[in-house]
Amino acid sequence: MKRREFLKATAGVAAGLIAKPALAQSATEITFFFPVAVGGPITKIIDGYAADFEKANAGVKVKPVYAGTYQETLIKVLTGHKSGNPPTSSVLLSTDMFTLIDEDAIAPIDDFVKSDDDKAWLKSFFPAFMLNSRTGGKTWGAPFQRSTVVMYWNKELFKEAGLDPEKPPATWAEQVAFAQKLTKPDGSGGASQWGMQVPSSGFPYWLFQGFTTQAGGILMNEAGDRTFYDKPEVIEALSYWVDLSRKYKVHPPGIVEWGTTPKDFFERKTAMMWTTTGNLTNVRNSAKFPFGVGMLPAGKRRGSPTGGGNFYISKKAPKAQQEAAFKFARFLTTPERAAQWCVDTGYVAVRPDSFDTEALKKYVADFPPAAVARDQLQYAVAELSTHENQRVTKALNDGLQAALTGTKAPAQAMKDSQAEAERILSRYR
C-alpha cells in the first residue's frame, strides 16, 4: 500500500477509535442506559425490543447500553449529564427521583403526555408504583421494572421440621416460631441450617422497610425532606430484626451478603429468605427442591417497600430525541410487553391489565408465585427516597449495619442515623 494511503487509513482507524462513541448523533438516535442482571438473556431481550421499536418507527434508532447495577447506572447517567453528554433515556431506581430533579437532569413525563391515549397510559400503572414516581404534582418517571420484597421458603425443609409445607408464616410471631423449628444449631453459636435470612449488605434499608411497614412506621415524608428514623415503630422494627439473630438465634449473625443469599437458599443453608421478586426466575431455575413464595409476614399489618427502576427522560436531550424516547417508553410498557418482561425476569408487570393478557394468565396459572408480588402491592409503601438520596440512605444503612453487628443498640443506632439525616436534609426545608 502506498505510504499516503496507509497514513490515511491509519488516521481513519485512529480517529474512529478515538472519537467519542456516537451518542445521539442524529436527531432520531436515542440512547438507553439500563442496569443488567447476571444472565445474558436480559440484554438480548432489550436488544430485541430496540430492534422491534426501530422496525415500527422508521427513522428512529435506539442504542441500548447496559451499565451495571442501579448504582453504577446512576453514576454513569449523572457523569454524562454533568459533562454535557447525557443518555437520552435510562432506567434508574425510582428513588433517584429527587437526586435527578436536584441535578436538573430529567424532564417530567407530563411534558410529553398530550393525547387522551397518552393520558390513559399514564393512569394505567399500579398506584403503588406511582408513589415513588410523583412529586410536586408532576410525574417524573414511568414504572418499568418494579418489584417488592417477598419471602421464599423451602418446602422440603418445612416438611422435615414438621411444618405444613404449603403455609408460610403469616405473622411476626409465626415467623419466629417456624424459624426456630427450622434452625439446626451446630453447638458453637452457629447453625448448619438457619431458619431465615434477610440480607443486610449494600442496601439493608430496602429489606428494613419491610419490617418498618409491618410495624406501622414510615421512614420519610412525601416531599422527601424529612426522615423519621428514630420513631418508636422504626426502632421496634430494628429490634425485631436484631433479635432474630441475637435473641432467637434463628438468623445468621452479622451482615448477610445480598449476593450470596440466593445461593445460601439453594444450598439449604437457610430455610426461608427475604429477597426481591426479581429473583423469581433465577430461583425457579436453580432450586433443586420445591419452594414457595409468599407475602412478608404481618407485624401490625402486612407491608413491603416497592423497588426497582423507572424509565427517565433526560432534560438536556434535544426535543426530537425526547419525543422518540417517550415513544420508546410507551412501547416498552404496553400490556403485552410488560407481561412478557414479567415472565422473562420475575419483576412485577407494572400495569394491572398485563395480568389479563394470555401470556401472564397462563404463566400465573402454571406458576402461582408469580402473582404474589402483585397481590402484595395493596400493602406496599413507597421506597425510601429523599433529596441527596444516596447520603441520607447511607446514614440509615450504616445505622442498620451497626445494630446488626452489635456495635450499637437499635435505639442508639437509629438516633445517630436520624441526626445525620437531619443534618443533610434541614437545608431543603
Binding site: 449488605s201 451482615i255 444450598e267
Partner: protein
C-alpha cells in the same frame, strides 16, 4: 554547545512529558487544593468561597476518622507482612528447591489477575457455611464465622487479599537483587564460620536495602491506592469498617457528588503521602549501602 543551546535542547526534550505531567498531575493537584476551599457547585447555587469549612466538615465527620484509622491499620498490616513474605519467598526460590519454577509461578500469579476478579473469588472463600474457608475450618471442627460481615474481622480479611496480591510482585524484585550478590561473599562468610542467619542479617539484608526501600515505597503507595476489592467485596461496610481514604473520596465524589468535600479529602491524603515519603527518605536513605 553553548549553555543556551543546551538549555533549549534540554527543555525541548522535556516538553512533552512535562506538559502532560503539568496537565494531569500538577494542575489537578493545584485545582483540587483550590476547590477544597469552595463549596460544591449545584444547579441551584454555584460554587462560592467557604474557606476552611470543608476541612471543618471532614474533622467533624466520624466516617473520615474511621477511614483514616482504617487506612493506617491497613498500611500497618499489609506493608510489613507483604515485604517480609516477599523476602521469604525470594530466599526460598533462590535456594534451588525442588520444583522452584512452579513455586515461583504460584507466588507471582496473583499479580497478573485483576483485582476485581480476585475480589469475587475471595468473596466465595469468605462466605459463611459453605465458603472455602468455612469448609476447610469445618474439617478441623472450627465453627464457621461471618468474616466479611462482622466489623472485627472485615478489615483483616480485606488486608489478606491485598497481601496475597502483592507479595509475589515484590518477590521478583528481591529475587533479582539476591541474584546480584556475588557468591564470593557467601564463601567468605562461611569460611569465617558464620551461621546462615548471621549471613542473612549482616550481609544479605543490608545489601538488599535499596530493594527494600524501593519495595517499601511501592507498598506504601499501594496501601493507599488499592480500593478495587473494597468496592466489590464490602462496599466499605459493615458500617464503614472497611472504608479507606480513596474509597471515601470515590464515595463522596461520585456517589454523593460532593466534589469539594472530596477535594478536601484528597488534599489530606496527598499531604499524608508526602509526609510518609519524606519520612521514608529521611530515615532510610542514610542507611542504604550503595555499591
Amino acid at each position: 554547545m553553548t549553555r543556551t543551546r543546551a538549555a533549549i535542547h534540554g527543555w525541548l526534550l522535556l516538553l512533552p512529558a512535562m506538559a502532560l505531567l503539568a496537565l494531569f498531575t500538577h494542575w489537578p493537584a493545584l485545582a483540587t487544593f483550590i476547590d477544597s476551599f469552595y463549596s460544591t457547585p449545584r444547579p441551584i447555587r454555584p460554587a462560592h468561597f467557604v474557606g476552611l469549612a470543608n476541612y471543618a466538615t471532614l474533622a467533624d465527620d466520624p466516617i473520615f476518622w474511621q477511614a483514616l484509622t482504617n487506612n493506617l491499620w491497613f498500611a500497618l498490616g499489609t506493608i510489613p507482612v507483604s515485604i517480609a513474605l516477599a523476602l521469604l519467598m525470594a530466599l526460598w526460590v533462590n535456594d534451588r528447591i525442588a520444583g522452584r519454577t512452579l513455586i515461583r509461578m504460584a507466588y507471582f500469579t496473583p499479580t497478573v489477575l485483576p483485582m476485581i476478579a480476585i475480589a469475587n473469588i475471595w468473596l466465595f472463600f469468605y462466605t459463611p457455611q459453605y465458603g472455602l474457608l468455612a469448609q476447610v475450618l469445618g474439617a478441623f471442627g472450627i465453627a464457621s464465622h461471618n468474616w466479611l460481615g462482622s466489623q472485627d474481622t472485615a478489615l483483616i480479611c480485606v488486608m489478606i487479599v491485598a497481601i496475597w496480591k502483592e507479595a509475589g510482585f515484590f518477590m521478583i524484585f528481591y529475587l533479582a537483587a539476591l541474584q546480584q550478590i556475588p557468591p564470593s561473599l557467601a564463601e567468605a562468610s562461611a569460611l569465617e564460620g558464620a551461621s546462615r542467619f548471621y549471613y542473612f542479617r549482616r550481609i544479605q539484608f543490608p545489601l538488599l536495602m535499596p530493594t527494600t526501600l524501593f519495595v517499601l515505597i511501592n507498598a506504601v503507595i499501594n496501601a493507599f491506592r488499592t480500593v478495587d476489592h473494597i468496592i466489590v467485596m464490602t462496599h466499605g461496610g459493615p458500617d464503614n469498617a472497611t472504608s479507606l481514604l480513596l474509597f471515601r473520596i470515590y464515595e463522596l465524589g461520585f456517589n454523593f457528588w460532593d466534589t469539594s468535600l472530596a477535594s478536601a479529602l484528597t488534599v489530606v491524603l496527598l499531604v499524608g503521602l508526602a509526609l510518609v515519603a519524606f519520612a521514608q527518605w529521611a530515615f532510610l536513605e542514610p542507611r542504604i549501602h550503595y555499591r
